[in-house]
């Protein structure tokens, strides 16, 4: 009954296009998309992926992306075509890990079945037979499931480094080799089940890690893609065609529709409109433009179509310059060494010298080389960092799941580790401390005025109109029916309501850019707009202070609004900072040995986000900023920022406890191994108990966001 809609992939006439649909939130949305879309002419089938917030549409090649986007909009969903390969590298890697986990699980169960019989007393030819069967199952399983570890260990060794996978690989390979030798010579102890079980537990940790990364990437991917990636180029004959941003050339004339983002820098040739530069400069007020004005890629055209002669494209635009800064700033982060690798740098030499000592010691004590080697390998198996391999991913996955439910997407485990280390915070103002969209003060308006204002405001894309409409709709106002609505760019909206002239226009006092005047017949009222601070901004800063993190403002906006926000929140502030200066401020802090947390949304924050020790961006931020940030928070609340820091610190506490437990376990188990008392049964029990304890301890983090 819930069978997927049939997708006719074999028909050569059809093509498939993928869209991200961030607005898909419930079962009803899936049903609506999959039921309603195929009713449109030319669309054969639609299939929604709810986790990735994507829809794949099978359609007639005659329909282009614009028509499909319009079809989705008609049933109430905003959508963006996805250009890149839908099966990314990350998904491939996760699938490989899950396959390896499945194979290891199969091997573990069957080898364990045989091992239990041996431990229960099977001996003689039966034991030899069971050992041979175990070897037959375990060797291919180890070869297949161990590949992720062997490859990573080989990579580290060939760069003359060591990581967690080096002791793991050595332990597994030696255990398998020793067991094979025992099997061939008819010996008593084979460690096949230990080797396979170790791989299974460690792969479980890796899979958790990969699932966490993919889940967040899908969440962020759904927010991306609103920037200008193509432009309508006007040909000499007046016809227009879509050209991808990378293929634009200086001198081309492009048509920028209202609501569209610019894909390159240029000068306005024709048209009067206003552009939203908030992503580039951090200024919340729209900027009016007329012929001759210079406009930059990334700016959004608000009210009327513009014809723009391009002056700089692709790598020469102001945006590309910022992207270059971000690339360079992000380099330092790749040198960060994660806690698991730091731990193994201490751990591996200790364990390996212990094993070597055991071998030498027993040789001196007069045991044969076979017995000495068996004991040395038992030391390696018992100390193989099974619990250690789970210590970090288990805690981080539980923490990131808890944060996800509170509206914060953490990109990976390394981000959580760096968030926990931050000791100073820098906030951008517009869009970060504030909501970034102007909100209207409608308390002075009567019921009639509200209704008329909504009727007018709904007709426009101007941010003030949209802010006003949002505020009125929130109050439950029903829009009045306005006839002949006209929008004159830079002046406002006008129309007729019950035979009376009504207008929503720019006030005469031009200095007050964040205001509008509502005129009904002869009476006029001014509606003030403000870009308010997020409701819990002060509470968030207090919570950060409680964690020992002092905050300050670093904004590209003008001094007056920045100072006003700083006074209200009691913070130090720096205004009118260029992207380069933001980056320099971050570098200066790092040079002093501080670990700054950057919270920002605009493109101008991008380099600073990439350079900071850790960074967080709101879900409304520019694509580049979201990609540079370690975490993205969704919604109107700022509190997830403070929550992220608190949970990151709690996670590191749990990780340290897990490490502590692993060390205690080793201190108890190693003497047993050194004295040759470890049998395969003891190794198997020790390994599973220590892993379970670590996972159980990590699960306590699920309550950390309460």
């Amino acid at each position: 009954m819930n069978a997927p809609a049939p997708i006719l992939a074999d028909s050569p006439a059809l093509i498939s296009t993928r869209f991200t649909v961030p607005g898909m939130r419930c079962a009803g949305c899936i049903g609506k998309i999959e039921r309603e879309l195929p009713k449109v002419d030319g669309i054969i089938a639609a299939r929604a992926n709810f986790s990735a917030k994507r829809v794949a549409i099978q359609h007639d090649p005659a329909l282009d992306e614009t028509a499909l986007t319009a079809a989705l909009l008609a049933i109430g969903f905003e959508a963006q075509p996805v250009a890149d390969n839908p099966l990314g590298v990350e998904t491939q890697e996760r699938k490989r890990l899950i396959r390896a986990l499945g194979v290891a699980g199969f091997g573990m169960m069957n080898v364990m079945l045989l091992s239990v019989s041996i431990w229960s007393g099977a001996d003689g030819p039966t034991r030899d037979l069971f050992h041979w069967l175990s070897a037959l199952i375990a060797m291919p399983v180890i070869a297949y499931s161990g590949r992720p570890f062997f490859a990573s260990a080989w990579m580290a060794l060939s760069h003359r480094r060591t990581n967690m996978d080096v002791p793991i690989s050595i332990g597994v390979i030696l255990a398998a080799a020793l067991s094979l030798y025992e099997t061939i010579t008819g010996g008593g102890h084979a460690y096949f089940e230990s080797a396979v079980m170790l791989l299974f537990f460690l792969l479980a940790g890796r899979v958790l890690d990969a699932v966490m990364r993919d889940r967040t990437r899908a969440g962020i991917g759904a927010l991306l893609g609103r920037m200008g990636k193509s432009a309508s180029v006007i040909g000499p004959d007046g016809s227009t065609r879509r050209v991808a941003a990378g293929e634009l050339e200086p001198g081309m004339l492009v048509l920028v529709a209202a609501g569209e983002a610019l894909a390159a820098d240029g000068a306005v040739e024709d048209g009067v409109s206003a552009i939203d530069n908030a992503m580039l400069t951090g200024e919340s007020a729209p900027e009016p433009v007329a012929p001759g004005a210079i406009v930059h890629a990334g700016a959004i055209n608000l009210s009327a179509p513009l014809r723009v002669r391009l002056t700089a494209v692709a790598d020469d635009t102001a945006i590309a310059e910022i992207a270059r800064l971000m690339d360079e700033a992000g380099q330092s982060r790749s040198h960060y060494v994660r806690i698991a690798d730091r731990a193994s740098r201490l751990y591996a030499p200790v364990v390996h010298s212990l094993a070597a000592l055991a071998f030498v010691g027993w040789m001196i004590a007069g045991a044969g080389w076979h017995q000495s080697l068996t004991i040395a390998i038992a030391v390696l198996i018992i100390t193989c960092p099974c619990a250690m391999g789970l210590a970090v991913p288990a805690a981080q996955v539980v923490a990131s799941g808890a944060l996800l439910r509170r509206g914060l997407l953490v990109k990976d485990g390394s981000a959580l580790e760096r968030l926990a280390e931050c000791d100073i915070a820098l906030f951008d103002k517009t869009g970060t401390l504030t909501l970034g969209t102007p909100r209207a003060d409608i308390t002075a308006l009567g019921a009639e005025a509200r209704s008329v204002a909504l009727g007018l405001a709904q007709a426009s894309r101007h941010p003030l109109s949209q802010g006003l409409a949002a505020a009125l709709l929130h109050e439950g106002v029903v829009p009045a029916v306005i006839a002949d609505v006209r929008e004159v760019s830079g002046a406002g909206l006008s129309g007729r309501w019950n035979g009376v002239e009504v207008a929503l226009e720019r006030p005469d006092d031009a200095a007050q850019s964040l205001a509008a005047r509502l005129r009904i017949g002869e009476t006029a009222q001014t509606i003030a707009f403000a870009d308010p601070l997020r409701a819990d901004a002060a509470a968030t800063l207090a919570a950060l202070r409680a964690e020992g993190i002092e905050a300050s403002i670093l904004s590209g906006d003008r001094a007056a609004p920045v100072d006003a926000a700083a006074r209200e929140l009691g913070l130090a502030a720096t205004a009118e900072v260029s992207p380069q200066a933001k980056l320099a401020a971050l570098e200066a802090l790092k040079a002093q040995g501080r670990r700054p947390l950057m919270v920002g949304d605009g493109l101008n924050d991008g380099p600073a986000l990439a350079a900071a020790h850790a960074s967080i961006a709101p879900g409304t931020a520019s694509d580049a900023s979201q990609q540079a940030a370690d975490a993205v928070f969704i919604g109107e609340k700022l509190m997830p920022v403070a929550l992220a820091v608190r949970v990151a610190k709690a996670t590191m506490r749990i990780v340290r406890q897990n490490f502590g437990f692993s060390i205690i376990y080793n201190v108890l188990a190693v003497p047993l191994a050194l004295f040759g008392l470890v049998t395969p049964l003891i190794a198997a029990i020790a390994m599973s108990v220590s892993s379970l304890v670590v996972v159980a301890n990590s699960l306590r983090l699920a309550r950390s966001t309460k």
Binding site: A27, R35, A52, R99, N110
Partner: protein, 49 residues
Amino acid sequence: MTGLAFLIPIAIGMGLLGLAAFLWSLRDGQYEDMDGAASRILIDEEDEL
């Protein structure tokens, strides 16, 4: 002991069957959209007759 000759191949065969089923479902994309699968059960099918 001759029972083992039957029981062990059966046990391993069943394990392999489970593994094959798992790999098949993975290849078939059944783990691609876990949240969606959880929601789909709530969709009311409108029988169009």
